[in-house]
C-alpha cells in the first residue's frame, strides 16, 4: 500500500467516524461538534502562523464577527434588529421554518464573505507590523472588537442576543448543527489540502522563511498575505456563524470574542500538533480537546493552571509539536527523502541562515 493510499484510507476512516459518531454517541453530539470547530480553528490559524510565519493572536476576531454578522442577517431579514435586541431578550419572536432556514443559510454565507472582507481591510492596516508587533496588534483588534460590540446597543451590547430558536425537535437541531460543524471542518481541510499542493504554499512558505528575499524574488508579498488571511477569515466566519446558532445565545466577551480561551486554544492546538503541517493542527486539536474534555471537570479549578503550564511546556520545550517531532525522527514515513550529503548541505545552509 502506498503512502498516498494510506492517507486516503485514513481520510475515509475519519469521514466515516465523523458521520456515524452522533448516532453512536448521541449524548456526546455537542462535544464532538465542538471538536470539529477546534480542528477548524487550528487549521485556519496554521495558514498564517505555521505556513506563513505570521503569528496572529487575534484570529478569534473573525469567529466573533461571523457570529454577529449571521445573527444580524437572521434577525434583520424579518425584524428590526434594534427592536429585537433593545428588549434584552424580552420579546419572543417566532420564525417560521422557512424564515429560519433562509436566514441561517444567508447568514452563514454573509458571515464568510464579510469576514473575508474584514481580513482584507485589516490586512492593509496590520500587515506592515512584523513579528511580535503583528501578534500584539491582532490581539488588540480582537479585544477592541469585543469591547466595541459590548458598547454597541444596536447589537444588544453586553446583554447579547438570543438567537432565533430552531423550529423543530431538539434532537434534529443537535444533528443539524453537528453536521454543519463537521462539514465546515472537512471543507476547510479539503480546501487547504488542495491549496497546499499549489504554488501558493511555496509563496507563503517563502514569506515565512525570508520576507525581504521573497519580495526581492518578485513575490507580491502583501497580496499573498491578504489572501491567506482572507481564507482563514472565510472559514472562521462560517464556524462563528454555526457556533453562535448552536449555542443559542451570543454575547461579546465570553462567546463571540473569547481572546483568552478559544483565541489562545487555536494557537496552542496548532503548536501541539506541529505547525506548518497539514495534519499537525488536526492531531493537536483532537488531542487537546479530548484531554481537556476528559480531565476538565476532575481538576476542580486547577484545570486553568494546568492549561497555563501546558502552554509554557509546549512552547518552551516542545515547540515543533508532535508531528514536527515525528517528522524529524522518521522522515521517510512522511515521504521526505533524506539524501545524506544534501541534508548536510541543508544543515550548513540553515546554520548560515541563523
Amino acid at each position: 500500500m502506498t503512502a498516498k493510499n494510506k492517507q486516503l484510507l485514513l481520510c475515509a476512516l475519519i469521514l466515516l467516524a465523523g458521520i456515524v459518531a452522533p448516532f453512536l454517541f448521541p449524548n456526546y453530539t455537542f462535544q464532538i461538534a465542538v471538536l470539529w470547530v477546534m480542528i477548524l480553528f487550528a487549521l485556519t490559524w496554521d495558514i498564517m502562523g505555521g505556513q506563513m510565519g505570521y503569528n496572529s493572536l487575534g484570529n478569534i476576531f473573525f469567529f466573533g464577527a461571523g457570529m454577529y454578522i449571521c445573527a444580524v442577517i437572521q434577525i434583520g431579514l424579518f425584524y428590526n434588529v434594534g427592536d429585537y435586541t433593545s428588549a434584552y431578550g424580552a420579546v419572543k419572536v417566532d420564525f417560521t421554518p422557512g424564515q429560519y432556514y433562509l436566514g441561517l443559510v444567508l447568514g452563514i454565507l454573509a458571515s464568510a464573505v464579510v469576514s473575508a472582507l474584514f481580513a482584507v481591510i485589516f490586512g492593509w492596516i496590520v500587515f506592515g507590523l512584523r513579528g511580535p508587533y503583528f501578534a500584539i496588534g491582532t490581539l488588540g483588534v480582537a479585544i477592541a472588537a469585543g469591547e466595541l460590540v459590548g458598547a454597541w446597543d444596536w447589537l444588544g451590547g453586553g446583554s447579547g442576543i438570543s438567537m432565533p430558536t430552531y423550529p423543530g425537535e431538539p434532537d434534529d437541531r443537535a444533528l443539524l448543527f453537528y453536521f454543519l460543524c463537521f462539514g465546515s471542518a472537512v471543507a476547510t481541510f479539503a480546501f487547504l489540502r488542495v491549496l497546499y499542493a499549489t504554488r501558493f504554499k511555496l509563496a507563503i512558505n517563502a514569506i515565512r522563511d525570508d520576507e525581504a528575499k521573497a519580495e526581492a524574488m518578485g513575490i507580491h508579498t502583501l497580496r499573498f498575505k491578504i489572501v491567506a488571511w482572507s481564507i482563514a477569515a472565510f472559514f472562521l466566519g462560517i464556524s462563528g456563524a454555526i457556533y453562535g446558532n448552536m449555542s443559542g445565545f451570543i454575547e461579546p466577551l465570553e462567546v463571540a470574542f473569547p481572546t483568552v480561551t478559544f483565541g489562545i486554544f487555536m494557537v496552542l492546538m496548532a503548536l501541539l500538533g506541529g505547525k506548518g503541517t497539514l495534519w499537525g493542527p488536526v492531531l493537536g486539536a483532537t488531542l487537546f480537546h479530548v484531554i481537556k474534555e476528559v480531565t476538565w471537570t476532575h481538576l476542580l479549578g486547577w484545570q486553568w493552571v494546568a492549561l497555563g503550564l501546558l502552554i509554557i511546556i509546549n512552547v518552551v520545550y516542545f515547540q515543533q509539536g508532535l508531528l514536527g517531532w515525528a517528522q524529524e525522527k522518521w522522515p521517510e514515513a512522511f515521504g521526505i527523502r533524506v539524501d545524506e550529503p544534501e541534508s548536510a548541505d541543508d544543515n550548513a545552509a540553515r546554520r548560515a541562515a541563523e
Binding site: I264, V305, G308, I311
Partner: protein
C-alpha cells in the same frame, strides 16, 4: 456625549482639574509598570505579557498584609523582595529558554505564565475583588468639589522615588552599567566578561519587583481581582509602544497621558468606553508606527 463636553467647558470647568489629577496620579503607576516592560523589552527583547499579572501579584501581597493587621504600605518593600525572587525564578525556569528563540515564543510563554499566575491567585484568594485599605485621609477643596485622597499623593511620590532610584541604579551601579552594556550589544558585553545570563536574570527580576511595587500602590487606590492583570499588561504595551523602550521621559509622559486619557474618555463617552480607549490607543499607536516605518521604507525603494 456633547452634554458631558459642555459640562467640562462651560458649566463646571473645575472638574477638569479633578479628572487631570486622577489621571496623573494613576498614570504615574502605569508609567512605573511600563518602565519595567521597557527594561525587559529593551535589554532582553522579551515582550512580557505577564506584566499586568505581576502587578496584581504585588497587589495581593499588600492585601495579605492588610489581612494580617499590618499596614499595606509596608507591602512595598516586601513586594519588591518577593517579586524580585519570583521574577528570578521565572527567568531560570522559563525565560532563559526562550530568550534566543523567535519573539512569538516569548510572547506565548509569558502568556502561559500570565494564565498560571492569575488562575493560582484565583484558587488562593477567590474571584471576589479585594482591596487594601490605607486608612489615609482625604483632602478636599472648593466645598468638596475637588477631592484627592492622601494615598494617591503618597503613591505618586513613591512611584517617583522608585523611578529615580532605578535610574540612579542603572547609571551608577556596576550591575546597572552591565545591563546597559548588554542592551547595547550582548555579544560585545559577553566578550568584555559580563555574565549576560546573570544580567538577564537580574533585569527580569528587577522588572517583576517594579511591577510588584506598582501593584501594592494599585491595591490601595483601586481594587484588585485575579483577572485584572490583562488590562494592566495592555496599558504597559500601549505606553512602551508609543514611547519606545530606550526613552524614560517618553514612558513617563505616555504613562501620565494614558491615565488622563482614560479619565476623560470615561467622563465624556461613558465608562463603557474607558477600557476600549486603551485598546483603541494600542491599535492606533501601532498603525501610526507603521505609517512612519512605511515612509522609511519608501526611501529605500
Amino acid at each position: 456625549m456633547l452634554d458631558n463636553l459642555s459640562l467640562l467647558f462651560d458649566l463646571a470647568p473645575v472638574f477638569n482639574i479633578q479628572l487631570l489629577l486622577d489621571g496623573l496620579f494613576i498614570g504615574a503607576i502605569f508609567a512605573l509598570a511600563a518602565y519595567g516592560l521597557a527594561l525587559v523589552w529593551g535589554v532582553m527583547n522579551v515582550k512580557n505579557l505577564a506584566q499586568g499579572d505581576f502587578v496584581i501579584m504585588g497587589g495581593y501581597i499588600a492585601y495579605s498584609l492588610g489581612e494580617w493587621g499590618i499596614h499595606p504600605i509596608l507591602g512595598l518593600p516586601l513586594a519588591i523582595v518577593v517579586m524580585f525572587a519570583f521574577g528570578w525564578a521565572v527567568y531560570v525556569l522559563v525565560i532563559r529558554r526562550v530568550i534566543d528563540r523567535d519573539l512569538f515564543t516569548s510572547l506565548l510563554a509569558t502568556f502561559g505564565i500570565a494564565i498560571v499566575v492569575q488562575q493560582s491567585l484565583n484558587l488562593i484568594y477567590g474571584p471576589e475583588v479585594k482591596i487594601a485599605e490605607s486608612g489615609f485621609g482625604i483632602r478636599s477643596a472648593l466645598d468638596n468639589q475637588l477631592t484627592v485622597s492622601d494615598i494617591k499623593v503618597v503613591s505618586f511620590v513613591m512611584a517617583a522615588a522608585l523611578a529615580i532610584a532605578v535610574v540612579v541604579f542603572m547609571k551608577r551601579s556596576r550591575m546597572g552599567q552591565a545591563i546597559r552594556a548588554t542592551a547595547q550589544d550582548p555579544r560585545a558585553a559577553k566578550i568584555m566578561g559580563i555574565d549576560t545570563d546573570r544580567v538577564y536574570a537580574f533585569t527580569f527580576a528587577l522588572n517583576a519587583a517594579i511591577c510588584g511595587a506598582a501593584g501594592v500602590l494599585i491595591a490601595m487606590i483601586w481594587v484588585i481581582q485575579p483577572f485584572y492583570g490583562i488590562t494592566h499588561s495592555i496599558r504597559s504595551f500601549v505606553i512602551v509602544t508609543a514611547a519606545g523602550f530606550g526613552n524614560l521621559p517618553g514612558v513617563i509622559i505616555a504613562g501620565l497621558g494614558l491615565g488622563v486619557a482614560e479619565q476623560y474618555s470615561g467622563f465624556v463617552m461613558g465608562a463603557e468606553f474607558q477600557q476600549a480607549t486603551v485598546v483603541g490607543l494600542l491599535v492606533a499607536v501601532l498603525v501610526w508606527r507603521q505609517i512612519q516605518q512605511g515612509r522609511l521604507r519608501q526611501v529605500v525603494q
